[in-house]
Subunit: 322 residues, 2 copies
Amino acid sequence: MKTVHIAIMGFGNIGVGTYQGIEINHDAIAAKTGLDLKVAKIIEIDIDRPRPVSPDRSLFTPDRMEVFQDPSIDVVVELIGGVEPATTFMIEALKHGKHVVTANKAAIAANYEQLTDAANEAGVLFRFEASVGGGIPVINAITTVLRSNRFEEVTGIMNGTTNFILTQMTQAGRPYADVLKEAQEKGFAEADPTADVEGIDIANKLSILISLCFGERVKIEDIPTTGMSGVTPEDIAQAKAEGKVIKMLASASRENGKIVCSVAPVRIGTDHPLASVSNEFNAIYLKGNILGETMLYGKGAGPLPTGSAIIGDIIDIATHTK
Amino acid sequence: MKTVHIAIMGFGNIGVGTYQGIEINHDAIAAKTGLDLKVAKIIEIDIDRPRPVSPDRSLFTPDRMEVFQDPSIDVVVELIGGVEPATTFMIEALKHGKHVVTANKAAIAANYEQLTDAANEAGVLFRFEASVGGGIPVINAITTVLRSNRFEEVTGIMNGTTNFILTQMTQAGRPYADVLKEAQEKGFAEADPTADVEGIDIANKLSILISLCFGERVKIEDIPTTGMSGVTPEDIAQAKAEGKVIKMLASASRENGKIVCSVAPVRIGTDHPLASVSNEFNAIYLKGNILGETMLYGKGAGPLPTGSAIIGDIIDIATHTK
């Protein structure tokens, strides 16, 4: 049995989900993998916020450098979110020889090379399965078994809020503002829904997938992005009359050697695999030159599904390192 | 650049697809991974059968032991099919220190422990992504990033022939015998379709998934299996009237500590993610205790999609070994 000493940096919803996932499945993971996953430190200032879990107070520290300099810590899980200071903190952790796992799409989209370079230079691993599609194992698929392909296309429904709103608008013929309000009341949409409905969250994820599928960097400011707040019930009815549905799609392909990409509400035929992906679900559709089509579907958000991907990354790191 | 010397054992459709996939994507794989994949030997008696590729005749040998004893060979790809002599040959290769990749569901379902034990004892890797779902990266997902979960259920559409027949019966209201005949004419069904339509092929795949998801062995003779040749247009019409579709499903779950499993034509609601998986496509639906639901969809057969998975396994082996 090998003990993996984990530091969680940022103890919000996803940090709590990761902690809970480790608690719930500690013994099952130990039985399957021989790994004893142990949350050894939680880097967080706010100890007393009400949370559904109660880690021992001695695990909390506000001092990240103390943790990065602690030789017993194997993996740092960055869950602060946002580009900065998260990027700086991750690079510090990598430079101190810590493997880093993150769910932070914004930081990776902005600083992919800096982060992967820092990991390579330090001889440690940097993993981010949870940054796209939550619990859906898409990044692992692209970076392992599907590497046998040249990717021709990646298209995804990668935001649960906008997919929920469009699904409800389609099924009930209701206007955008009305459904948004309901989604906010149910906790499916943020009080300020801009990052979701205007496609910014999705563009971050698409930038990451472009890096992985095509080996090229397209920054989010270079991804043509159209929000879905302008979609009307009339647009949806017209699409339906054409045998189509409107989905908020992120898409990239290589055409004549150049990456063509966009984030926008798009009409797709009801026979497309993405057409039946409803409500809060996400899916990523890939075309490989020898594989043909594949699609990976699941919950793109939520503390436990996201924790599933983070813990999967931790296990993967621990099984591939001493 | 690291050269990986590959021996393909059995040069039928899948062997040819693997060879073609390596030819087509050799340079792309080298650029992405630093690996120079090289088919160094083809273990096959029938050199002159017409095939869409023409490897140099010097690659062919009828003598597997010559290849297993050749220290320059890194990986043996077993594509003979069937339980024996394939199992014996794979164990021989493993004992000679060769990593083994296979698409052979029947051999793994029958001899999972013997094969994995032989690999462990020899300190080499044994990979079989292509044995379930063709190019769909489901085995890798279960054995890597999704290990963070206790699996609660695995349900799949894992046979393109039966899914094609049921889809056509459903869409056109045609009887089984009629659609089977068309599928045979189009090459979607074998002249003797027994292994497909009676669920034997599917039971082999389910046995493998049960081993991986639940860590328990259920041999195919212990999986209650009902073929789909008895499904009538009336059954399908009645399902439709209930808002359901009939799909040939393989399913396993753990109930009160015991594995409950079956292969059978089953009615599922049209809102189930598997309901919209049509024609020759396959999909595997998984429930994990922290992940929730996920589904992986794609082409479950065919030389190039299956080759995609085999080459993915070869790359994975080469990147995780010296």
